[in-house]
Amino acid sequence: MTPLLSVEGLNKTYGAHLGCRDVGLDLFPGEVLGIVGESGSGKTTVLNCMAGHLVPDRGRVVFDTRAKGPRDVLTMSESERRMLGRTDWAFVHQNARDGLRMGVSAGGNVGERLMAVGARNYGRIRQTAEDWLTRVEIDAARIDDRPTTFSGGMQQRLQIARNLVTGPRLVFMDEPTGGLDVSVQARLLDLLRGLVRDMGLSAIIVTHDLAVVRLLADRLLVMKSGEVVEHGLTDQVLDDPQHGYTQLLVSSVLQA
């Protein structure tokens, strides 16, 4: 099977400071990969390099495109990469405000991404936006309200709707449940799990929350000081960690 995304030898430094070193991974269709590690471990650097938000110093990020098969995203033209970002890729930010247009209505936030891929029929766009608001459990009656009037959990769900409306194949998520109440987190986790299963999405989720990856991720990568120190099946890595750092990480979690 061809991986949907294949990353090799990813390196990034910030001046003298190491971002990540020799990071490699394969992501297969329908798979959810978690990347964990503490603050400063390089997990967000890796995510941003893969998603095209940062330019790595070295490495390859090969995506299996619909039209032309596996292509190195880093050597694509800017316009090709932007097209990918609007169609097959989605990025869910930790802070919903970074992924939404706060001055535009909820419906507009969802419809905008549809229009970016060529949708022009206003009625149909509005209908699709309504469907998606319902799908992420936002009352369709709120379609003309701005996200500034939404709670944090609703904003995050709206960001997810905006991202998934074009039917992407790969979703990057940076701490998608960070900063939300525990009860709101649970609802969001359930929503994400259902969407991943029903849409056959592949996803890469960066988080420091081991409980979140246990429930969402099939496989896990553990990062420390810019390097991957352990990878494997999520429950295996958490229940039988092999690396000293992972053992420390797992044993440091407070039991609720």
Binding site: F28, E31, D218, L233, Q236, D239
Partner: protein, 240 residues
């Protein structure tokens, strides 16, 4: 119960364990290496139920977790169907768990706030079954296991221990897995529900499932198991 006589040849065994060993290395405690299992062999045929016995700490749960791919093997082979769990890539193990190998653990671990009916239907939806069919099958099992319909729309996280265990069992039996691991499936149950679970196990055997279980309930064990295997012989203190 008939003890012993392992005639499970390599060809007809559904679960085949050979020369399996397990160590834990505690990197944050001076790098101590604990060898908990060495030279373990076990063969389970389709339609057969094998009970693991041995004192607490002898490695029953460790062996079950290794078969499921939850603990890594240090050495040896764990063949389930045509997959060697000890060497398989994570996505091969995920496919094995989805299609072939079920596990009823002692504790329910689910996303909070998901309704019980969906928790039970989930393994079927993952196999691509339509929503309503998956829910029908889940409802059927919940009825059999005496979970009142009024509770189906609620998350099982707030249920009693016995109710949670029955939800776990319903989930584990929703799909007719060819291989099943059962960890104390009758531990917290009253006589009626225990009988239902034993019936489910017998039915699974009749349809050809290979089952490995831990049963402290000896009466239940004698009713459903073909053989018992004492794992004390697998721990490294003893010659295997």
């Amino acid at each position: 119960m008939t003890v012993g006589q392992d005639k499970g040849g390599k060809t007809d065994a559904m679960i085949e364990i050979e020369n399996l060993s397990k160590t834990f290395t505690l990197h944050n405690q001076g790098g101590v290496v604990i060898r908990v299992m060495a030279g373990a062999d076990l063969s389970v045929r389709a339609g057969e139920c094998v009970a693991l016995t041995g004192a607490s700490g002898s490695g029953k749960s460790t062996l079950m977790r290794m078969i499921y791919g939850n603990y890594l093997a240090a050495d040896g082979a764990i063949r389930v169907g045509d997959v060697d769990v000890a060497r398989a890539a994570p996505r091969e193990i995920l496919a094995l768990r989805r299609d072939t190998l079920g596990y009823v653990s002692q504790f329910l671990r689910v996303v909070p706030r998901v309704p019980t009916l969906d928790v039970v239907a989930e393994p079927l939806r993952r196999l691509g079954m339509r929503d309503d069919n998956a829910r029908d099958r889940a409802a059927h099992l919940l009825i059999r296991l005496n979970i009142p319909e009024a509770l189906w729309a609620l998350s099982p996280t707030t249920f009693s221990g016995g109710e949670q265990q029955r939800v776990n069992i319903a989930r584990g039996f929703a799909h007719p897995y060819p291989a099943l691991l059962l960890d104390e499936p009758t531990a917290a149950l009253d006589a009626d529900n225990r009988a239902v679970v034993l019936d489910l196990i017998v039915e699974a055997k009749v349809r050809g499932a290979a089952i490995v279980g831990i049963f402290h309930d000896t009466e239940a064990r004698d009713r459903v198991c073909n053989r018992i295997v004492d794992v004390t012989g697998f721990s490294s203190g003893h010659a295997a």
